[in-house]
Amino acid sequence: MTSIPHTNLIPSSAPSRGKVGMACLIFAECWFFAGFIVAYLFYIGKSSSGPFPREVIDIKPVLVNSAALIASSFTVIAALRGLARSHMGVFRFWMLLTIVLGSYFIYGTAMEWKGFIVDHHLTISTNLFGTTYYSLVGFHAFHVIVGLCLLTTILVLSLMGHIQVVRDHLRVELVSWYWHFVDAVWIVVFTTVYIVGMRP
């Protein structure tokens, strides 16, 4: 053993396994959404009967909704910054605001769906637009809800005093990665459904 030169022993500067794990999860989720986005794009304008997107979609509330979700990405960054400085009050405030903004997004989606279902009689089985719209937007909303559950869990744990900066900063940061991912997917979904899909 002694004669082996240890000069070429390169110390491993490995990334955190949590970060790699979360990055891989997000990578896989991207491909999951890709299937539904391709389905939406593929079936634009192919519905054999109405209601069609231009007849039912009202863009204004969606814009407010989107603003709320995008803003929540910045509030979660502010929360993390508060946590890094051990300002638990600041952390909790921004976490709460993030959850409120995310919940408002879900509320807005629910209102949009209510309008579609009650006023326009558009369900998942009505036509291809309904099929692709509800599955794409629905899966995104499902991911927002998962994110909200994670954020709420962190907030409750923090209120109970179970969040320690040194131990938990990375964990909260990973949840924030997921939240940013949900946000980024929304930008793609928004472009697909409310811009590309609205062409006559």
Binding site: M1, A14, C24, Y43, Y134
Partner: protein, 555 residues
């Protein structure tokens, strides 16, 4: 670091119940890996029984041993089982067992997630097989799924798949697919974060490189399949129209989604086999692997190209000629890196001091059989040739040469190579040689004539054939290969059980190998390495055994 065991539950608890309990609650990557392989072996026998029934049915023309419906169930369950419940778990099981040992780690990055993945796979498999009992649904029709392993729509729509057989197919595969995805996440995190000091990327054993690539492919392909299956579930239960032509949905869209998953899946099944061969051939040729960096580059380019070849499964659909041409070209392209690997393996053996152990025999058999399957694959990439032979027995012969002659022979080679590491006992070599020849004879007898009956025009997935069309002889020969394969499997199982009881004791390094898994005892302690090893070259154990001539001098 002390040598105190990390897991307090030990083998010292003697009772059978507590021993089973210790396996069920285990999060140790070695136990999980062995459970993956063991469960895969059980499903392998189930899939083999289904194949045997099909071969018995096709032994003579106008046979009525199986009903047409029963035959459909058999080929569906055989294909689904072999791909999702044998190929993937066995290969992921080897990855699970070997990756931490090869990179000098104590366990995977997420041990509990690892156990979760195993149990998802097992319950997914049970869910699929429960369809034999519960698939009837309310209508008293169905049983096991009968839509083929790629479940083309509109065959899977409510109108044509009454009962719940197809739903069991969807959910069983989805559940075990989630298991595979968690395992892939674990592989990536383990390989990126848990390597021992000195284990740089270009010193990793090629098996680890190959499993890393497989991890990427699993994370990329399986979510697309899961998404497609969710769409199918929506179609079946919520009345959605993804694959419903009556509402302008497209049945071809399912094929695109399925094969976008399906072709990377083929590489998920063969790349780990390449990795095993990359470890086994050098050790038994007493030469270092020829062209290590080229092997890595070829692996990554295979993975990359595999994303853009899926339409070659759909040449006979009637897509535009320019699209077919592009995908034919990309399919030819994939033969280049694969050919590089082939030549590198032969280059490794060339001039080596070859020891023909059973493991090496299987590895050599792999080279021959996989080359044959690869060549018929290139033939099928020619669009007009594919138009003639698509959905014929030629295709069946082709992919059995690749998946049985390729993947399974590599797995058998790996079983003989790493069994002593996992159990501390060597498998019997004479019995292993019989196993090898039984499989080689059985494989050739069964799958070679399929090319001929396919060229003569015999379609796949049809439960019988008319006499007088020239199919009889080839089908009879195909069926006559089955007993050889059954004997092969039984010999292997007997060998494993016998060697577990009174096999020759292996010692830590029976093959005089070079990689880190042989640096620890056989079987390894639950913490793998009493002291975390260091790595000075691609062959750290060689360096340790030959301090006067270490490999790192030549790096």
């Amino acid at each position: 670091m002390t040598t105190a065991p990390i897991h307090p539950i030990t083998e010292t608890s003697v009772g059978f119940g507590s021993r089973v309990h210790s396996w069920v609650i285990s999060v140790d990557h070695k136990k999980l890996g062995m459970m993956y392989i063991g469960a895969g072996l059980i499903f392998f026998m189930l899939g083999g029984i289904e194949a045997t029934l099909m071969r018995l049915q096709l032994m003579k023309p106008l046979n009525d041993m199986l009903t047409p419906h029963g035959f459909n169930q058999m080929f569906t369950m055989h294909g689904t089982t072999m791909v999702f419940l044998v190929g993937m778990p066995v290969l992921l099981g080897f990855g699970n067992y070997l990756i931490p040992l090869m990179i000098g780690a104590r366990d995977m990055a997420f041990p509990r997630l690892n156990a979760f993945g195993l149990w998802l796979f097992i319950f997914g498999g049970l869910l699929l097989y429960y369809s034999f009992i519960g698939g009837d649904g309310l209508y008293g029709m169905g049983g096991a799924p009968d839509v083929g392993w790629f479940a083309y729509s509109p065959l899977t729509s409510k109108a044509f798949s009454v009962g719940h057989a197809t739903d069991y197919w969807i959910l069983g595969i989805m559940v075990s697919g989630f298991g595979s995805m968690t395992t892939a996440i674990n592989f990536m995190a383990t390989i990126l974060c848990m390597r021992c000091p000195g284990m740089t990327f270009m010193r990793m054993p090629l098996f680890v490189w190959l499993m890393f690539t497989v991890g990427i492919l699993v994370l990329l392909a399986l979510p697309v399949l899961t998404g497609a299956q969710v769409m199918l579930l929506f179609d079946r239960f919520l009345g959605a129209h993804f694959f419903d032509p009556q509402q302008q949905g497209s049945v071809i869209f399912w094929q695109h989604l399925f094969w976008f998953f399906g072709h990377p899946e083929v590489y998920i099944l063969i790349l780990p086999a390449f990795g095993m061969i990359c470890e086994i051939i050098p050790v038994f040729s007493r030469k270092v692997i020829f062209g290590y960096p080229l092997m890595v580059a070829a692996t990554l380019s295979i993975a990359f190209i595999s994303l853009g070849v899926w339409v070659h499964h759909m040449f006979s659909v009637g897509l535009p000629p320019w699209l077919n041409s592009i995908f034919a070209a990309s399919t030819f392209l994939i033969a280049v890196p694969t050919g590089m690997k082939m030549f590198n393996w032969i280059g490794t053996m060339w001039g080596g001091n070859i020891r023909f152990t059973v493991s090496m025999m299987f590895a050599t058999g792999f080279l021959v059989m996989f080359l044959f399957g690869g060549l018929t694959g290139i033939m099928l990439a020619v669009v007009p040739f594919d138009w003639q032979l698509s959905d014929s027995y030629f295709v069946v012969g082709h992919f059995h040469y690749v998946l049985f002659g390729g993947t399974m022979l590599a797995v058998f080679s790996a079983v003989f190579y790493w069994f002593p590491k996992a159990t501390g006992r060597l498998l019997s070599e004479p019995m292993g040689k019989w196993t090898f020849w039984m499989f080689m004879i059985g494989l050739t007898l069964t799958f070679f004539p399929m090319h001929l009956s396919g060229v003569l025009g015999m379609p796949r997935r049809v439960y019988t054939y008319q006499p007088g069309r020239g199919f009889e002889l080839w089908n009879l020969i195909s069926s006559s290969g089955v007993p050889f394969q059954i004997v092969g499997v039984l010999l292997l199982v007997t060998n494993i059980i016998k060697s577990l009881i009174n096999g020759r004791v292996a010692g830590p390094d029976p093959w005089d190998a070079w990689t880190l898994e042989w640096a620890t005892s056989s079987p390894p302690p639950s913490e793998n390495f009493p002291k975390i090893p260091t790595c000075t070259s691609p062959r750290p154990l060689w360096d340790r055994k030959h301090p006067e001539d270490p490999d790192c001098f030549y790096e």
